[in-house]
């Protein structure tokens, strides 16, 4: 019998004893703590941990010897879970397999807002690292007390604390004796010495890929509950169309399995027994419904011309020195204007949600990027207390920003409330996802600069014009699509220029005189956060312009960027890219283009190169290869960083070469993969990514760093291949002929 001394700091919370048995694998791999020269973290706690300082907010010891990490973030395919498991296993000397990661859930996990902006490593992974390190210390102290020995003599392995061979090791569960670690993480925190790392910095395989290839239930789309029914929403033909008339009785007679029609203002939904009945009902409803005809969309003219006529509100993002000399152009002045169209997230699996109202609590299973902000927005839309809503994060198809995930959850919530005690599943159609998701805003950008005799930039003026890049729910009901159509409808709030449009609008170069202005307009289409927000458009413009300036200064494009760099880490990624490209040979119609940025000017450094072949007769561009060099600070999982960077740059190349959301006078006309084509396998380039690990720096997200540089690298490569400068996206063959 082991006795655990009473410890007032321990809570009485019981284990979730999932296996009811304490036998686990055991290996003596760990070195005693004393020899490991721990790192003493004294400065400040990671952001999320400051808000949720208790250890048990972040991790729970399970009765079967495993540890459950609670994160307020979501798995979006970025490999969040493995990175978090690596960090926790490292500090607690567990096997990675012994760490289970619980994704965002209201009432259960810390509230970490949105899983966005590549902030999960800085915040969550670091919070988990500190919480796990504090837990380690607390567990060692418990064991030390029990054995009456100093903690220096103890070590840990596979969920047990060890002393010497004569003593039976104590499992974490035994040490806690049914409690959890309720104490707060306090500075200083002893972190494991990096030289002792077994997992962090290594390409540990993601566990979820095996679940995927085995076709295990994994996605929100795979949820199946007993008695589950299916629903679809009948969308209006235009954003502002109002429901005038719905012939319910003739409709009802025609839809087999129809359980309920839900009509609330202009929101119209139907619930059926089988999914295919709902699919057919959704199509059929169009014949039984009459909508108002709102003001037409501004089609029939180049979008940029229309956007330029819109009223704007402006603000200066950055001003340094004086740029008025640019008002009087000289022959060393260069100007250019760039444009990017509306682009869509284009998730492969349309958004999906399951909701169940049990008479008291509304449960919503969703692949939102933020369960807490969604809960708050739903609470306002439905007039329910936040405590009556239980929002559970489940992975979905990759989203790349704010797609239809929150909207479909709102749809399902409304329908489930109207049809209590049954789980209601709703998946959008392809057409809904394409035509109703909030797009990445169209933008136009104007740049001008002066060069001195040595080819240095002396003056730089840049303006960008854009709609918002964030209309996430954020607790705001009006940002949920359905809320705008309800009888008691919610206005769409205007987020103005706070919406991320000017992200990366300031060049990350040393330029003595500089001015950057951001102009905000309200465009014709629904918009929100698309991977990297305004950074894609801004870096496309800035890095194209840098290339144009390099050409005028008769400098090599990488040298030109190096000339204007002050940050050692910028220089290192650029030099590494230079080295990687050195052996490349080019044929007559081929070119290599490069581009660089530091994401948000404070996060990951990324230099991208693209090699293209341009057929001058047809104007066809073949993207042959892309390279990236990325410095994302301390690397938790190098393969994760690689995967994100490869995917990010290829996706951005698809945006750049092919994509543009089109609309007619009624609504969006890009409604399927033929009218909105993206890269298919035959168009995807070969890729090569070099990751620079900086173990002593803060880990930074890598998911969005490549978007902007990839765009500019592609157009710069096209310029090198055929001498045509593309400033208007997407790249069109007609222009290159």
């Amino acid at each position: 019998m082991k006795s655990t001394p009473f410890n007032p700091e321990l809570s009485r919370r019981k284990f979730i004893n999932s296996l009811g048995c304490l036998t686990i694998g055991f290996s003596l791999t760990s070195t005693p703590w004393a020899s490991a020269e721990p790192l003493l973290a004294e400065e400040k706690l990671p952001g999320s941990l400051q808000k949720h300082p208790r250890i048990d907010a972040w991790l729970e010891v399970l009765g079967d010897g495993r540890v459950r990490v609670l994160t307020g973030k979501m798995e979006l395919g970025q490999g969040l879970r493995i990175a978090i498991a690596q960090v926790a296993a490292e500090e607690l000397d567990l096997e990675v397999e012994q760490v289970e990661v619980h994704l965002a859930e209201t009432g259960r996990t810390p509230n970490e807002g949105y899983t966005a902006g590549s902030g999960s490593m800085e915040n969550t992974a670091m919070s988990v690292r500190y919480a796990a390190a504090a837990a380690r210390q607390a567990l060692l102290e418990l064991a030390a007390k029990q054995w009456d020995v100093s903690t220096d003599r103890l070590s840990m392995a596979s969920g047990r604390v060890l002393w010497d061979a004569s003593k039976e090791p104590l499992t974490f569960a035994e040490l806690l004796n049914g409690a959890q670690l309720e104490q707060e993480v306090k500075l200083p925190v002893r972190l494991k010495a990096r030289s002792e790392y077994r997992y962090v910095g290594k390409p540990i395989l993601r566990k979820d890929i095996e679940q995927m290839v085995r076709a295990q239930p994994f996605y929100v789309q795979d949820l199946r509950f007993p008695g589950m029914v299916h629903a679809r929403v009948v969308r209006p033909p235009a954003y502002e169309a109002k429901l005038l008339e719905f012939n319910e009785s003739t409709f009802q007679a025609k839809v087999p399995g129809l359980l309920k029609v839900v009509k609330n203002g202009s929101f119209l939904g139907l619930i059926t027994t089988d999914e295919y009945q709902a699919v057919q009902g959704q199509l059929l409803a169009r014949e039984h419904v009459r909508w108002s005809t709102p003001k037409p969309l501004p089609q029939g003219q180049p979008l940029i011309n229309y956007l330029k006529k819109l009223p704007t509100s402006s603000r200066t993002v950055k001003e340094k020195g004086a740029v008025e000399v640019l008002d009087k152009p000289t022959k060393s002045t260069w100007k250019a204007e760039y444009f990017k169209p509306y682009q869509m997230h284009g998730s492969i699996g349309p958004s999906c949600s399951v909701a169940l109202y049990d008479g008291q609590v509304l449960h919503v299973w969703t692949h939102t990027q933020g369960v807490f902000p969604l809960r708050d927005a739903l609470s306002k839309m439905l007039g329910m207390k936040p405590e009556s809503l239980h929002v559970i994060g489940v992975p979905g198809s990759g989203c790349y920003g704010h797609n239809g995930a929150d909207d479909v959850a709102a749809d399902a919530a409304l329908l489930a409330l109207a049809y209590p005690n049954k789980p209601v599943r709703l998946q959008w159609s392809r057409e809904e996802e394409h035509a109703w998701e909030p797009y990445g805003s169209a933008m136009w950008m104007a740049a001008e600069a002066n060069l001195d005799a040595s080819g240095r930039i002396t003056h730089w003026r840049y303006g960008l014009w854009s709609d918002s890049h964030s209309t996430r729910p954020g607790g705001n009901a009006g940002n949920l699509l359905a809320a705008r159509y309800l009888e008691k409808s919610f206005e769409r709030p205007s987020s103005g220029y706070s919406g991320g449009a000017y992200r990366n609008s300031e060049p990350y170069y040393a330029i003595p005189n500089l001015k950057v202005d951001s102009h905000f307009f309200e465009g014709p289409l629904r918009v929100s956060a698309l991977r990297s927000l305004g950074a894609y458009g801004n870096i496309f413009a800035i890095e194209s312009f840098m290339d144009e300036l390099a050409h005028r200064a008769q400098k090599d494009p990488i040298e030109f960027r190096l000339m204007h760099s002050e940050d050692e880490r910028s220089m290192e990624v650029l030099k590494k890219l230079q080295e990687v490209l050195r052996p490349e040979k080019l044929n007559a119609n081929e070119g290599i283009g490069v581009a660089f940025s530091r994401y948000k000017n404070v996060a990951s450094y990324c230099a991208v190169a693209a090699k293209v072949a341009v057929d001058k007769k047809t104007g066809d561009v073949r993207l042959l290869k892309m390279w990236a060099v990325i410095d994302a600070g301390e690397v938790i999982n190098p393969d994760g960083v690689k995967n994100q960077t490869e995917g990010g740059m290829v996706q951005a190349a698809s945006w750049t070469l092919k994509e543009e959301v089109l609309f007619d006078k009624q609504h969006v006309s890009s409604r399927d993969w033929y009218s909105y084509p993206i890269f298919r396998c035959g168009e995807v380039p070969e890729v090569e990514v070099v990751v620079i690990d900086r173990p002593n720096e803060e880990p930074l997200g890598a998911g969005e760093a490549a978007q902007g540089p990839a765009a500019a690298a592609v157009v710069n490569a096209i310029y090198r291949a055929c001498g045509k400068r593309v400033r208007h996206l997407p790249v069109k063959a007609a222009y290159l002929k």
Binding site: G77, V213, Q216, Q221, D274, S347, G647, C681, V684
Partner: protein, 156 residues
């Protein structure tokens, strides 16, 4: 409207009472509770719903279930061996970590299996061709190509 339809999926016959016009995909997912084939577009444009029909990779999102009678359908689930061991193509996807969100992975694996059945030593162009119907928005195609090359190696 409903009728009895018998289909053979992953080596097992299933007698179902369904609307015979229901696309195969809905029957596989909802009646047979399979997770492999996924809804992506319902338009035969994206390949999320791929299954093997008599060994050929085909989208299942539009074909009526009644037209599948007498044909052998294999889904992603059916590739795993009875003892739980992964098919070499499945294994190669794990080894190459050829996924991000993984939503496209069903279509990729099914297409790769069909390709390698028809062509034991596909070159890169043939692999790309074999995967052309399947869209991946996370853009992991370079990894998928590597996984198929690896699987081709182990299958020899």
């Amino acid at each position: 409207m409903e009728a009895d339809v018998t289909i053979e999926v992953n080596g097992k016959k299933h007698m179902l009472r369904v609307d015979p016009a229901t696309p195969l995909l809905y029957v596989l997912r909802n009646q047979l509770e399979l997770n492999g084939p996924k809804y992506g577009c319902g338009l035969e444009q994206c390949g999320s719903c791929m299954v093997l029909m008599d060994g050929v990779a085909m989208p299942s999102c539009r074909v009526p279930v009644e037209s599948m009678q007498g044909r052998a359908i294999t889904t992603l689930e059916g590739l795993t061996r009875a003892d739980g061991a992964l098919h070499p193509v499945q294994q190669a996807f794990v080894n190459e970590q050829a996924a991000q969100c993984g939503y496209c992975l069903n279509g990729m694996v099914i297409s790769a299996v069909a390709l390698l059945q028809a062509n034991k030593k596909p070159d890169e162009a043939a692999i790309r061709e074999g995967l052309q119907r399947v869209l991946c928005r996370c853009s992991v195609q370079p990894r998928v190509i590597r996984a198929v090359q690896r699987a081709a190696g182990t299958l020899q």
